[in-house]
Amino acid sequence: MTLSVTGLRVSSLVRDVSFEIGAGARVGLIGESGSGKSLTALAIMGLLPDELHASGSVRLNGHELLGSSEKDLSRRRGDELAMVFQEPMTALNPAMRVGRQVTEPGRIHGRRRSAEELLDAVGLPGTARAYPHQLSGGQRQRVVLAMALANEPSLLICDEPTTALDVTVQAQILSLIKTSLPAESALLFITHDLAVVASVCERVLVMLDGEIVEAGSTREVLTSPKHEYTRKLLDASDLEARR
């Protein structure tokens, strides 16, 4: 198992969450605000705010992440473990050229691929010398994705990566994620949008109030949901039926 989460707790906001993600698996985590989905991701990355404390077990490739030293965690972040956040406008350093930023994970962790190569792979040829403010939201998310994938992570976590983007750009970014993620890398894709999860993931976990209320293959969960909340979400997302 690439990622093995057992009995994860974060204050009262994430309660006894357990799941596994194997190498190459694409798993979606669905929930609304307050469900604890983002906190779960932050707990895995070791990026919880100071006031919150995580307990339980999070094992990546056999190593226990919870309780690891910051030094150990920062060695893994950007390398085996990578994350793409929701807000592209603040995700990049405004004072550093994009080419430099995209090669930073490589420089820190000892692997080197050129800026041009990395940016080309995400469909941004020739932008290495640009500054973030010269790029659109969608382009910035591509840069962030390039940085996340630079060292071929074992696990890529995406937390609502397309929610802040226009619909046409969203489609491009989702397609990019699907095509550029190496086959052996695992993906944990967090979103509130059922259609997106259906198109990207093969397995899905549904979170409500800090707990996982349903889990299974995307097909199973979305076409024959067992939990009331899943059904409610499906109904609410399917507006055409209402009129």
């Binding site: 605000s33 046409t168 489609a171 949008d193 259609a195 259906a198 409610k232 609410a236 507006l239």
Partner: protein, 256 residues
């Protein structure tokens, strides 16, 4: 025609941005008119111009036959009681330091406890909400407060600017249903602005598709969605995450 827009333009000289480049359309009384566009389409600018909260650089906006784009604020009183807006951000659109009853009665110019109670009931909020502050409510409830405020002066036109985009999926349906029933109940004209195609289809009868300051397609909802004429409309329809299509694909037997 309750609203007429002709060749409306808005340029921002300082940033050399052409937010609106000549937009024209009509809205009939009682219609549910949708405006769809992504960021940079000019829809937010259009909303402000329709409500005379901004002045165009060219073109005209008329309300019930009277031009409103060239009137000074003091002559716009008639508009302020006839046309109201519900905004996107449920937190930012309510003054955090005011109690709900003051927020709702603000367009009335004075405290009217009976009207406030009436409005709270109309939007499905309990009476005791009047004495509380915005931060004590959830996003969906705050939008209800916003809607109550908009209805206070008994307007004939309601402009909803992305009213459910910032809300959780499970709450959106409730707010949309609420808007729907209120529009029916008070015989309002609704102008519904959103980037979400699904939502606009669900709520409106006519739709204008905007892109970079222009309307690229305008027509009845069924026609635009089923047989889009403009390439951009087709692009939007294809790109939008479509749950039904995904479910159909999944039921058809292949996993993602």
């Amino acid at each position: 025609m309750i609203i007429e827009v002709r060749d409306l333009e808005r340029r921002y000289a300082r940033r050399d941005v052409h937010a609106l480049r000549g937009v024209s359309f009509d809205v009939e009384a009682g219609q549910r008119f949708g405006i769809v566009g992504e960021s940079g389409s000019g829809k937010s600018t259009l909303v402000r111009l329709l409500a005379a909260l901004d002045k165009p650089t060219a073109g005209t906006v008329s309300f019930q036959g009277r031009r409103i784009d060239d009137l000074p604020e003091r002559k716009l009183g008639f508009l302020r009681s006839e046309l109201q807006i519900v905004f996107q951000d449920p937190m930012g659109s309510l003054d955090p330091r005011m109690r709900v009853r003051d927020i709702i009665s603000e367009p009335l110019g004075r405290r009217e406890p009976d009207r406030v109670a009436e409005l709270l009931a109309a939007v499905g909020l309990p009476e005791d909400a009047a004495g509380r502050y915005p931060h004590q409510f959830s996003g969906g409830q705050r939008q209800r407060i916003s809607i109550a405020r908009a209805l206070a002066p008994n307007p004939s036109v309601l402009i909803a600017d992305e009213p459910v985009s910032a809300l959780d999926v499970s709450v959106r349906g409730q707010i949309l249903d609420l808007l729907d029933s209120l529009v029916e109940q008070f015989a309002l004209t609704l102008i519904f602005v959103s980037h979400d195609l699904g939502v606009v289809r669900h709520v409106c009868d006519r739709v204008a598709v905007m892109r970079r300051g222009e309307i690229v397609e305008l027509g009845d909802v069924e026609q635009v969605y089923d047989t889009p004429r403009h390439e951009y409309t087709r692009e939007l329809l294809e790109a939008a995450p479509n749950l039904r299509a995904e479910l159909a694909r999944l039921s058809g037997g292949d996993d993602a």
